[in-house]
Symmetry: C2
Subunit: 311 residues, 2 copies
């Protein structure tokens, strides 16, 4: 990686006990915490796909989102964030202003989650803005949450509420890192995933990885007020928005019933100030099944955002 073009950025990186070598070399040298695994996630966001740089979406917001989606991935692994490196392709025109804004957004969220911005790669081109964030975290051996650990009999829980994220939450990502670490510390979690592409799609992925069937009590789904607002405009139901919109960046958990009920009982008090609800249970089988308020079962198709491309 090359950092000579971001001296202004490097000058803003404080001395950090995680870094053995000052920022600006060919690579960052991190002191990993002892006796822990290294957890790594990478996400790439592109202008026109994940955001639209312009009057309604500032570089600061994009920097926040870029780190936020990666933090959400680490939360879904029950892991502690440590350090990030960021690569950008900046539009030649206005690139420096964009870079400063990106850094401001990244640095503010990094500080809130005690993440070291360890380095990056800054490029310019005639194309749209692209930002790729690699986040490195840590977790004790054998303690990473996985998406393939769901078991029949588990209850399915979610943090927060779903749907309508395009009204603003898709940018103002609030990754559930602290909540995840606290849950990992106090409760038993069999499987976890974060909701990036759609509640039904991401829950479907967890069930597919676990080799199980997800039963969803539709009346129990926490529907975000934004889903109701969007539904009023577009004629789709708030429930449909909640199940398919994605970019909620909430946690979806499969937990043994006793732990699940204890967590729900603790929700609403620090550090679980956000709502946590049981929305269904795990059964043997495959796919998703919705149960309506009359108790009728019907197949629930996993839907959400897919990156379509052809061969």
């Amino acid at each position: 990686m090359e950092t000579d073009f971001v001296q202004w950025l490097l000058a803003r990186i404080p001395a950090d006990s995680r870094l053995e070598v000052p920022p600006g070399d060919d690579a960052a040298v991190l002191r990993p915490p002892a006796m822990r695994r290294t957890v790594v996630t990478v996400d790439m966001l592109m202008d026109g796909v994940d955001f639209r740089l312009g009057p309604d979406c500032s570089p600061e917001q994009i920097g926040h989102k870029a780190l936020g989606v990666s933090l959400s991935d680490l939360a879904a692994m029950g892991s502690r964030p440590e350090a990030a490196v960021v690569a950008v392709a900046l539009p030649r025109s206005g690139g420096e202003t964009i870079a400063r804004g990106l850094h401001a957004g990244l640095a503010t969220l990094a500080a809130r989650h005690d993440v070291t911005l360890a380095g990056g790669d800054t490029n310019a081109w005639d194309g749209p803005l692209v930002i790729s964030t690699t986040l490195i975290g840590s977790v004790p051996p054998g303690r990473a949450w996985r998406r393939d650990g769901g078991r029949p009999g588990d209850l399915i829980l979610v943090t927060g509420a779903f749907g309508g994220s395009l009204l603003g939450r898709h940018l103002a990502v609030e990754p559930r890192c602290r909540e995840a670490l606290e849950i990992a510390h106090r409760f038993t979690v069999h499987a976890a995933i974060d909701c990036s592409d759609g509640l039904s799609l991401d829950l479907g992925r967890m069930m597919a990885a676990s080799g199980t069937c997800g039963i969803v009590r539709l009346a129990d789904l926490p529907i975000h007020p934004d889903a109701v607002r969007m539904a009023a405009d577009d004629g789709r139901s708030p429930l449909d928005h909640a199940l398919t919109d994605g970019e909620d960046f909430e946690l979806i958990l499969a937990m043994p019933p006793e732990s699940a009920r204890a967590l729900v009982a603790a929700a609403g008090t620090p550090p679980f100030e956000l709502p946590i609800r049981i929305i269904g249970e795990v059964e043997a089988g495959s796919g998703l099944v919705g149960i309506d308020s009359q108790g009728r079962r019907s197949p629930l198709e996993p839907r959400g955002y897919l990156h379509a491309f052809d061969s």
Copy 2:
């Protein structure tokens, strides 16, 4: 990160003792080697800037280059590569074919350097191909090579030869990982950098970081035959190509004289089969000075590839 679109890729990832969790979760969980620092580098390559996808440049070659430039960064840190995560923005049209080619190029080079492909993020859009590679390595505490360690009295050495990389070597990157580890094991290195943007530019960066002046004996520069070929076409001198073309991905080292001479004596025999030459020395001061064959000194301007953008 999201990997549901690369199941074909994940299926090709063998069981790996570095991975605690199978590929395909929200993040990769790595078993870091004990008692070593974690070294991280990220590089982003864009179509039209770092390569031109087309008849003369296949997805396989781009995958090779993407990992190769990051491996070269780790070599410049005297560090051992361990694992990589890769994020791509694929053109919607032909995206799957491109993804398969990228993976083939990545996997072949990864296998040669014992690098685990641990995960990634696959996206599609209507823009040009973008690939971002994050490479994670390791090094014993306090042993990472840095670019700021050059001292007056050190000799300046380079591996290989320089100039004219656009004739093919800019794609067929041969990162000097094995050589770097062997040098780190057997010799004393005060400072190191890899030549990505231009020999004079990268040496200038090392001297600036070290707070020293680099004296370059121009007649001693190893000039690549490709530089001579390009010079015959464009009227610039082979020396100018060697000093400024970049993408040679050779090592530039500052070493105490005794170690430098011992390394040069060992060059040409395994594992140092590539040429290693002394091209100058480090003095107190700043900037670069060229010495011609008559012993005349003149300032040498650091030149090479810069990512230009405006505010």
